[in-house]
């Protein structure tokens, strides 16, 4: 029996897990991090565009601060987020960028003087201030008031991931790669660690710790069309679900990104549009201004994706063997800009489609279509990152529903969330590990180990009837056809029924390769696919029950955002032996919000079933603000009066900015 002990255990080696592990290591405790692949290969590396933080260095970022970042995030979420968490996040994001800079992440910097940029398809000259020279620059992204997205060409995630992973090596985080967590060990109340399977030799190992954190990313691979890496199968969230205790939250909130390239689904960053790229239809016509005159291509992702699909439905898509698509034109930015700031985009277009996007005219246009991109839902946690239902289990990053994105995430906010949550939740997690969990009953551990071995053995021994790949591919099709950008009650009902059937089938598959003590990719599919189906069912079932449209969740039969009935978070959990998740809800309290629900500023107007509490709370907020402003109170005091929030002092400290110092 192989049992490994450490103070803290982190599952997942992307930006969130690594950053949290560093926080634990800095507290003087031992930390083991398990990763399914070498950590520098994590999906975090795929972040191209950048990370939002209100540094306000560049001319187009002038006047930016946490308040604006918070407001954009709440609007972006379509009022589905936890506003206290959004505050914690906005306050810490500038510190996260600055910390990474100190760790050597080579952020693109501001050059003083005039600079030509493309805004609304027009070349425009902006003047960068002398005092900003050499500070971190930012580009424009959708749904934000200021240019706030800090970046490194279009390889932001790569550089951030390397910076953080190298820092983890420095702090002696014990990283074990090709190690997959397959079961959470718990005694019904408290998480004791995980059973993990070594993907190189099939060995089962129990990793025991005072606290366990899941930071395994999203679940995009339950969809046929996705920008996600092949490892983003949601199995980290699924093992939490399989405890029968932890809740997954808002799983129906799935983001579709407007510009993955067709057919491979590899992402072309939002930076393409942020930097001034535009969308065109079959006639070469720029259609977005007709739908969204104010924000055009830079409305939030859910809005742009829907507008694109709407335009395709009007017959304006480009026919191709892979279905209809639209065009993304970045050639208008000029070859020099593409080759410097969008180099990976150019490389992807050239390699996978034989197109040079810097070529002017239709020759350089890239075929794009909205595809699954981000999972707003995940393991529900408190603002500290700990599960409400299982002591000692924390979650952070895309695997978690912390919940700062609500029903739609703004571009640049997920990459920011990974490191920011890594800092904040990582610190709470380190405290927890220091103060909790002394006694481990090894009998419980032994029991879990032997059960897991028996389970895997039963998978290879069973002479099942079904092919695991057929089930998996059918699941992906069902999700794409019926639980994607446009949803209807009828389609969702069909999806839930078929997914349930597929789940039952997935329990009876035939594994040809019988080896347990070896790398066995077929066996991996056999235990992962039922988990993916559980996640898919949480998504589809949650979507079926949510009879409104909010953010990325769009119901054609219920097109309005229904604040009267749906100011609530979906919580799903799984009872062992069942074939459908159980669902319950968690109310969002409008009367505690700093920003009560209102119109987002983009998308269709008048599409809200209002809640009378919104107006009531808004009046309260206005009165407090007016009174305090007349008394000469500063923005921090006013904020605190409107909605106090907890945050570690080191992160809550004001952020210094040029021109305004700490104001």
């Amino acid at each position: 029996m192989n049992i490994q002990y450490s103070d803290a255990l982190v599952i997942g080696g992307g930006l969130a897990g690594l950053r949290a592990a560093i926080e634990v290591a800095k507290s003087g405790q031992s930390v083991t991090l398990l990763s399914i692949c070498p950590v520098k290969r994590s999906h975090s590396a795929a972040v191209q565009g950048g990370m939002q933080a209100s540094l306000g260095n560049g001319a187009k970022g002038e006047g930016d601060n946490e308040d604006l970042h918070f407001a954009d995030t709440v609007k972006g979420s379509d009022w589905g987020c936890d506003q206290e968490v959004a505050r914690m996040f906005a306050q810490t994001a500038p510190k996260a960028v600055r910390e990474l800079a100190a760790w050597g992440v080579p952020w693109t910097r501001v050059t003083k003087g005039p600079r030509t940029v493309v805004i609304n398809a027009q070349k425009t000259v902006i003047e960068e201030k002398e005092e900003a020279h050499g500070l971190i620059n930012a580009r424009d992204f959708g749904g934000t008031k200021k240019w706030r997205t800090c970046y490194i060409a279009d390889a932001t995630g790569h550089c951030m991931l390397y910076g953080v992973a190298n820092e983890a090596i420095k702090h002696q985080v014990k990283v074990i790669d090709r190690m997959e967590a397959v079961r959470i060990i718990h005694d019904g109340k408290k998480c004791l660690g995980v059973i993990a399977r070594d993907l190189t030799n099939g060995q089962l190992i129990a990793y025991i710790a005072r606290g366990t954190m899941i930071a395994t990313g999203g679940y995009g691979r339950i969809y046929k069309q996705t920008t996600n890496a092949v490892i983003c199968e949601g199995t980290g969230a699924a093992i939490a679900l399989e405890t029968g205790l932890c809740r997954l939250s808002n799983m129906e909130a799935v983001q579709f990104h407007p510009t993955p390239i067709v057919p491979s689904g590899i992402l072309l960053t939002e930076g393409c549009r942020g930097d001034g790229g535009i969308l065109r239809d079959v006639d070469g016509y720029r259609f977005m201004p007709d739908y969204e005159p104010e924000k055009k291509e830079l409305a939030s992702r859910d809005v742009v994706s829907r507008r694109m699909m709407e335009h395709i439905r009007k017959g304006k898509g480009v026919k191709s063997p892979y279905g209809d698509h639209l065009w993304l034109d970045i050639s208008i930015l000029g070859r020099a800009h593409v080759e410097k700031n969008l180099r990976d985009v150019q490389d992807i277009c050239k390699t996978f489609n034989g197109i040079d996007p810097a070529d002017e005219g239709p020759k350089g246009w890239a075929p794009v279509l909205p595809m699954q991109h981000y999972s707003m839902g995940g393991i529900r946690t408190k603002p500290t990152g700990e599960s409400q239902w299982l002591d000692g289990l924390f979650a952070c990053g895309e695997a978690a529903c912390w919940d700062m994105h609500g029903f739609n995430r703004l571009g640049g906010n997920s990459c920011a969330e990974t490191v920011v949550a890594g800092m904040i939740v990582g610190d709470y997690f380190a405290d927890y590990c220091k103060n909790n969990g002394e006694v481990v009953d090894t009998n419980v551990v032994k029991d879990f180990l032997s059960k897991e071995y028996q389970y895997l053995k039963s998978l290879v021994d069973k002479e099942g009837q079904n092919d695991v790949f057929e089930i998996k591919n059918r699941m992906k099709e069902v999700m794409w056809d019926k639980v994607a950008i446009f949803r209807t009650g009828e389609g969702l009902k069909e999806a839930v029924n078929e997914l349930e059937e597929l789940y039952k089938k997935s329990l009876n598959v035939k594994v040809h390769c019988k080896e347990l003590d070896a790398a066995n990719p077929e066996l991996e599919e056999a235990y992962r696919v039922p988990r993916m189906l559980k996640v898919a069912l949480c998504v589809a079932y949650g979507a079926l029950l949510r009879t409104e449209s909010r953010g990325a969740h769009y119901r054609e039969d219920y097109p309005k955002r229904d604040d009267l009935n749906w100011m609530k978070r979906t919580l799903t959990y799984w009872v062992e032996g069942e074939t459908l998740p159980k669902v319950e809800y968690d109310e969002l309290d409008i009367m505690k919000m700093e920003m009560p629900p209102a119109f987002r500023g983009y998308g269709a107007k008048g599409n809200i079933i209002e809640n009378p509490l919104s107006e009531k709370r808004q009046a309260e907020v206005d009165a407090i603000r007016e009174k305090m402003e007349s008394e000469g109170k500063g923005r921090y005091e006013i904020q605190n009066a409107l909605m106090p929030y907890e945050l570690q002092a080191k992160y809550k400290a004001p952020n210094q900015r040029i021109g305004v110092d700490y104001e």
Binding site: A45, G134, T200, D347
Partner: protein
């Protein structure tokens, strides 16, 4: 017009007592812009679920899928089948790394060791107050650091390196590039002397035979040779002081 592709994949499980190294041949229909990633996924789903190989991003940015493709180390996800006129593609695992199974090798372990050897992190005594405005960096200097920060640790330069195959402890182009990256970064306060301690020997910068395959095969087109030469000049100058 579609044609038939012949994929010959190396199979061997070093942990098994009965497994012997051999090739298995698979035939499949070529589709437009087909990559080796697409081929291997089809093979696993329809022909041989037991074939081990590694992919993560499938977009040429994570470095997981490096393997020998007709004798040359390449990223399988970025390798198009149309570039092989006779339609025959032979796949083998990369040399120089510990073999896991079939086409899969352990690059993670090697790179973690390399990072520890060159102390691949910023060395700096200063405590940074992250509430304060960040240190100013000249924009061109930041861009130059980025140019050297683009290595994806795919291992292709390591597998391409004759010195590495003869001298197991050789740090290879990627390790030397990493030293150049930190020497270039103003956040790192290490001196040339410090780097001499780390890589100033035959397992480091003086072991390189300048055969150039590392740079020829690098999928990120990194300036490996000029940076090795740069490090060598710096360290020689240090030694001759």
């Amino acid at each position: 017009m579609s044609r038939k592709l012949t994929i010959k994949a190396f199979k061997y499980n070093p942990l098994s007592k009965i497994s012997k190294p051999h090739f298995v041949t698979y035939e499949l229909e070529e589709t437009p812009f087909m990559t080796v990633f697409v081929c291997l996924t089809q093979i696993r789903e329809k022909m041989d679920a037991d074939l081990s190989f590694d992919f993560v991003c499938r977009a040429g940015i994570c470095g997981s899928c490096a393997m020998m493709i007709n004798g040359v180390p390449k990223l399988a996800c970025k390798t198009l089948t149309k570039d092989y006129p006779d339609g025959v593609i032979e796949l083998m695992p990369m040399p120089a790394f510990k073999h896991i199974k079939d086409l899969s090798v352990n690059t993670g372990e090697w790179f973690e060791d390399m990072c520890k050897r060159v102390e691949s992190w910023v060395h700096n005594e200063k405590e940074t107050d992250i509430s304060k405005i960040e240190e100013r960096i000249e924009p061109e200097v930041a861009d130059e650091t980025f140019e050297l920060d683009r290595c994806i640790e795919c291992g292709i330069c390591v597998a391409s390196c004759a010195t590495k195959l003869m001298r197991p402890n050789f740090i290879a182009a990627t390790g030397l590039l990493r030293t150049a990256r930190y020497l270039q970064d103003p956040h790192d306060h290490r001196t040339v002397e410090d780097f001499y301690e780390l890589v100033g020997d035959d397992d480091g910068v003086f072991g390189c035979m300048s055969l150039l395959a590392c740079e020829d095969n690098c999928p990120k087109e990194l300036p490996l040779q000029s940076k090795i030469a740069y490090m060598r000049r710096q360290l020689v100058a240090q030694k001759c002081k």
